[in-house]
Amino acid sequence: MTTDDVVLVDRSREGGPGTSSRVPPRGTPATWARRGGLTALVFGLPILVIFGIFSWWPIVSAVVMSFQKTNLTDAPIWVGWDNFAAIFADPLLPKVIRNTAWFALLALVFGYPVPLVGAVLMSELRRRKGLYSVLAYLPVVVPPVVAVLLWKFFYDPRPQGVFNTILGWVGLGPYSWLNDQAMAMPSLVLEATWAAAGGTVIIYLAALITVPPELYDAAEVDGASVWRKVWHVTMPHLRGVLLITLILQIIGTAQVFLEPFLFTNGGPNHATLTVMLWVYQLAFTSIGNHFGEATALSLLLALFLAVMSLAYFHLTRSWSDS
């Protein structure tokens, strides 16, 4: 039994049973089982079953459902491209796309440069780096629902609201925050940035540790000033991480749900209705049971994100080649 196992290892490392002379190639199911095929299958069972039912099948099913009219219980009806047509004909679509893009753009403006500056500053700390990291990461561990409900109270539109009180000290406001069509989206993004920035800081910090000290030494030999070292040594080294976090952040914010759902539920006047929230509303609310349209919309979003990511990686690779 033991020697068989060892032979099996040789087989799997050298590719194919045909290469082994001690065991006949491709035997009966019994030899397959004895040589470890069954063991591998037993160990593979959890991943095959769980991924099969809860990942691979739903992906296939999403494509199928987008061409069906279904209420999940009765037999579905094939409707061809009707679901996609309905999405494209819906007057909400341009608004939803604009809102989602606006959220993503604001999230970049608020949440991309600040963690970078913070992380570079923190990486130069010689003491209490841990304290800074803990403080920066603290909002990330707050449950998102708690953060949103707390900030919703901060955005109280009355003059006694938390933010209106603070801004009142310097003679600003009161603002109506979430009730204002123009201010609602930036308000959501501000909270989302508060909740997420700490994670980005920690990722940058981890990348900053990997800058080889020799590079700084060399720059110093060449007489580089502190700012030139940060600009010409630190920043280029972070480039890879920065490019990745950029695209990951866009992919993440394009699917934002919690903030628009809990803060405003898409209002006022659809000013914060995002793609993901619309998917949810189409499928699961009173306007709902449009499961087919919801999956069609989610597939369109996924397709857009895939094309955008491919283009992005293609573009950034050609940059680094030049």
């Binding site: 033991t2 060892v6 290892v9 470890g36 063991t39 591998a40 299958l41 160990f43 069972l45 959890p46 991943i47 991924f51 039912i53 809860f54 990942s55 099913s61 999403a62 999940l72 500053l121 990486s123 700390l125 841990g130 800074y132 990291s133 803990v134 403080l135 920066a136 990461y137 603290l138 909002p139 707050v142 449950p143 708690v146 409900l149 901060f154 938390v162 603070i166 508060w194 994670g199 920690i202 990722i203 800058v211 000290p213 020799e214 700084y216 030494d217 110093e220 030999v221 502190v226 070292k229 976090t245 793609v275 998917v279 499928a283 699961f284 999956t295 989610s298 597939l299 996924a302 895939a306």
Partner: protein
């Protein structure tokens, strides 16, 4: 002169060359900081303009972090003990009419925060177990046993990394409402536990770690008569504590944060986790709500402070793997 000698000789001479122009260095606090140096050299720190600029910036950063990151949480803590009247009329005043336990009592006794907290714990424990089970056994197949179909499996798992979660929402719901075997899983913890296991990110993390383990040890164990199950349980798992720790932290945080999926499938109060329940409390008395929010924040924050090294290295690793 030569206080930093953890570097190689070559770097040492460079350091000496710099020192020659900028004067001697003082010994640093810890030996490893010499290796982990940032853009600022010790010499830079001795120049007064540099020192004052960076000290000021560091101080400002600390103030910013305290106000921006800690401030809202301190306010939340204060609200938990402030009468609703005062929260509404003067939220920033420091206990104008004294503190009260009333909010916390209401949240705990009338709104049963503790019960929903336990539901969240159940969701987290089950999801954690499923994720560890799938990731370790899957990683074992992909990186140690390596049957012929491992390549296809690896490809199939990696592909799911590129499918955004939004696509799965409706089809997953359909499967949970009408599963291939048995009755609807709505209001059953399994509706959250089972899909949680299908995390390609975990499988990739664990499989990569397993692939990095020395294969000589596996061979030696086999020579000594250990079958694949002993190999898995007595050799691979004990050697993989670090990565299992990281996956565990990710799993617990993720299930603590999850909202939309439990909101859809755990609707009954007997199984509803805390995050879903809090959302339904949005319109109760402000003081009670704030106390409930504070209680739900306390546990993750305490966990974070206790295991901060694990959290922070896990967060950094997340970036490293993604990058």
């Amino acid at each position: 002169m030569t206080t930093i000698d953890t570097r190689t000789a070559m770097q040492g001479t460079e350091a000496l060359a710099v020192e020659a122009t900028t004067g001697p260095r003082r010994p640093r606090r810890r030996g490893n900081e010499a290796v982990d140096r940032g853009a600022l050299s010790s010499a830079d720190w001795h120049r007064s303009t540099v020192k004052h600029t960076w000290r000021t910036m560091h101080f400002l950063l600390l103030v910013l972090l305290v106000v921006w990151c800690l401030g809202p949480l301190l306010l939340l803590g204060k609200f938990a003990f402030t009468p609703t009247q005062d929260i509404q009329s003067a939220p920033l005043a420091f206990f104008p009419n004294g503190a009260t336990w009333h909010n916390v009592e209401q949240a705990w006794n009338r709104y049963h925060i503790g019960q929903f907290f336990m539901n969240t714990v159940w969701v987290a424990v089950g999801s954690w177990f499923m994720q560890i089970l799938v990731a370790t056994t899957g990683g074992f197949v992909l990186s140690v046993l390596r049957p012929r179909w491992a390549k296809v499996l690896n490809w199939a798992v990696l592909t799911t990394l590129f499918v955004p979660a939004v696509v799965l929402l409706v089809p997953l719901y359909k499967i949970v409402v009408d599963p291939p075997v048995g009755a609807s899983l709505v209001n059953n913890f399994f509706a959250v536990w089972l899909p949680a296991g299908a995390s390609a990110f975990n499988v990739v993390l664990v499989a990569r770690f397993f692939a990095g383990l020395p294969r000589e040890i596996f061979e030696a164990a086999r020579m000594d008569g250990a079958g694949p199950f002993r190999l898995f349980w007595n050799i691979v798992l004990p050697m993989s504590r670090p990565i299992i720790g990281v996956v565990s932290v990710f799993a617990v945080i993720a299930s603590w944060k999850d909202f939309l999926w439990p909101f859809l499938v755990l609707k009954d109060q007997s199984v509803m986790p805390l995050s879903v329940y809090l959302q339904s409390m949005a319109n109760v008395d402000k003081g009670t709500l704030m106390a409930a929010l504070a209680i739900s924040t306390l546990i993750p924050i305490v966990m974070f402070l206790v295991f901060q090294r694990m959290f922070l290295s896990g967060a950094g690793l997340g970036g490293a793997v993604k990058g």
